[in-house]
Amino acid sequence: MRYLFRPPGTDGASLLALPWHQPLEEWDPDLLLEVPQRGISRHVVRFVAEQGRVFALKEIAESLARHEYALLGDFEAEGLPAVSVLGICVDRPGGQDAILVTRYLEYSMSYRYLFSRPSARQSVDQLMDTLVVLLVRLHLAGVFWGDCSLSNTLFRLDAGALAAHLVDAETAERHPTLSRGQRHYDLDLARERVGAEMLDLQFGDLLPAGVDPIEVADSLPVRYERLWEEVTREEVFRADEQRYRVAERLRRLNDLGFDVGEVELVTSDEGARLRVETRVSSPGQHRRELMRLTGLEVQENQARRLLNDLRTFRAWLEQKTGAPVSEAVAGIRWLAEVYQPVIDAIPPDLAGRLAPAEVFHEVLEHRWFLSEREGRDVGTTRAARSYFSTVLPRTPPELTTPSVIAKRP
């Protein structure tokens, strides 16, 4: 047998003791972890936990495994929202298929979960828009997905919003750019698959009343066209409008979740022509800044939220001490005195239902809600206590992320 994995290889090394020579279907259930948040797969897929990390193992033909391994590696390097690939195991005895190993996307939710709960906080609209953002991002990067479906997507909460990640790149193809035909065909496939998945939920009585699968599927091309147009269109306007039109366009793109790489403005007597080059990676400036100041790794909206809190904390420190406080010092103190105490106070039986940064975001929301009701600032500590006893328990236990389950005694 042959194992291929990318550095850092410590994750890979810890998996080497698994019975790779056996078909996945015959693995001892004691080695495996039940993961509720998953879609439909036509392959055998199993989950294992090693040293507190959870991995998804998929048995597929070697050529497909190598293809997917290479693509997912590229996607990660480019910052495209996709699962992170660890490696592959090939040359298994008896001519068995290869196994592709990916890192489980922690705190993620499947569409089955999101749709089958009438109390779902996320509307169908929001889910479809999120999927379309992912598809447009991939298309901008020259990726033909070939199997865009809800099953092949996982959703994560990002400060209340949803973010979609690609989890299956088996059929994906990389091109320098996509032709219109390729984009439309990919979209046709997506429409059909999403429609079928929604119909399937309806047949299983898992779809809330009032959601029409065909309507939802048909909305996909419309949403896609709107976003694609918004992201790629060239604009022409009068020279005197130039200043605010450029700013307006950039803000609009940021609101849609896209970063701008380069702006090209060509002026002539008739006016100005604006072309913006949209970055394929999801925006990450807040994520990177928070990482620099605190070492925390969170998603973009969460990072923006946490940074705001950090800045408020810094201002408060400066006011209290009457002297300037450096960013670095504020970062370290905020982490130790504000963020960490909230996270450490999460009751053990509720841990893992939401990502820590999401919990912190919700605590801040809750604090605002309580403060408004009482007409004064209630403070983070009290808000957290109240949140843990009244709000967090309402988050369903089946959302608990597998790595937390794996660490339980």
Partner: protein
Amino acid sequence: MASIEMRNIVKQYGDGYPAVNDVSLDIADGEFMILVGPSGCGKSTLLRMIVGLEDITSGDMVIGGKRVNDLAPRERNLSMVFQNYALYPHMTVFENIAFPLRLSKTPDDEVRRRVNEASDVLELKEHLERKPANLSGGQRQRVAMGRAIVRQAEAFLFDEPLSNLDAKLRGQMRTEISRLQRRLGITTVYVTHDQTEAMTLGDRVCVLRKGKIQQVASPRELYEQPVNLFVAGFIGSPPMNFLPATLEGTTLQTPFGAIALDEQRAAAVRGRELLLVGIRPEYFEDASLVDEVKRPVGSVFRARVDVTEWLGDSQYAYIPYEAPEAITAQLRDLSRELDSEELRTQAIVSIDSTSRIREGRDAEFWLDSRKIHVFDPQTGENLTRDAEAGARLTQMATEDRVEQVEHAQATGQTVGSSMLSGPSGSSGTSGTSGPSGAHRSGAA
């Protein structure tokens, strides 16, 4: 259903490299056409241009009489079979086949009619009300085919559909696809790099090399009357043997002795210093086992056997031979181009499984000199090709197809009784023409 006509199709990428170079090909209504060739030959690009995934640099793509160059994939109404294998667990097998129609808001009775017809052809009838969880591998694939059938597309397109299946399922699916295509009589374009698939499935096979068509013909014509060295080497397994030869009078001098040519063939190859003789493995035999009647139509030679391979029903002997450096280099290039590992200065010779020829010893072999071909090593051209004999073989294949389709229709095995009728003719290597009688069924 529809015919597909390609006129001078060119696909040029940004770097100027023509992935498809001036391809003209007519696929008759109801015909099963295979696009085959080694990787990089342009077969997938061509299929993608039919579907609408790749822009066409120049030329015309005409489907059902309509130019489709500028139409979106969806507007071409073609069906990529096996594009969606997913089975939806809460839906019955019926609904798993029906959903594309549900999504296009087809009326219920029409959905029922089409799904029932498709499930008849696919022998899924008794499973329709079940959930898909317990379907076998083959049945799952048939559900995927059912989805393609109910759409009533103009044509079926397959892009290497079997390449990721295990050997057993691959064999099964090959049979299924072939049976299905015959019963439906639907125009089918099938891309593969596997010459066995090409030979067993297609009415006609289009062999491509570096973006250019080499030959379009029935499998038998390709096998017996290849136009050039490339086609001869690509079609057939184990592959054709190529020996260096010189012509003396009407006799070819080869490492395996002298081979006599008739005057007509000798004239066709004359005037070249060096030649390549192509001999298929089964044109050889253990000389001691050859019928006395057959002996005179061939020649006999002695050679040392390197290895023998006994397979029960057949046996192969491997005989190394010497070749000038120019020939060795050319054969090496050819193997590389065909993605083949064969060492071509070693002949693979089929002998009767009862033969007692042994490894490491000299043995006497007979070869059937009627069936050899002689190639120009420079241009690769087959100098002894009999175009008329070839055209007859392809004509025979066309007649077989029409007869099979009529039989399927007569015995009521088809979807929609008005769907099928012959004949749709094709002949030779120049593409197809003539009447094509199939028309669309009921609810078009």
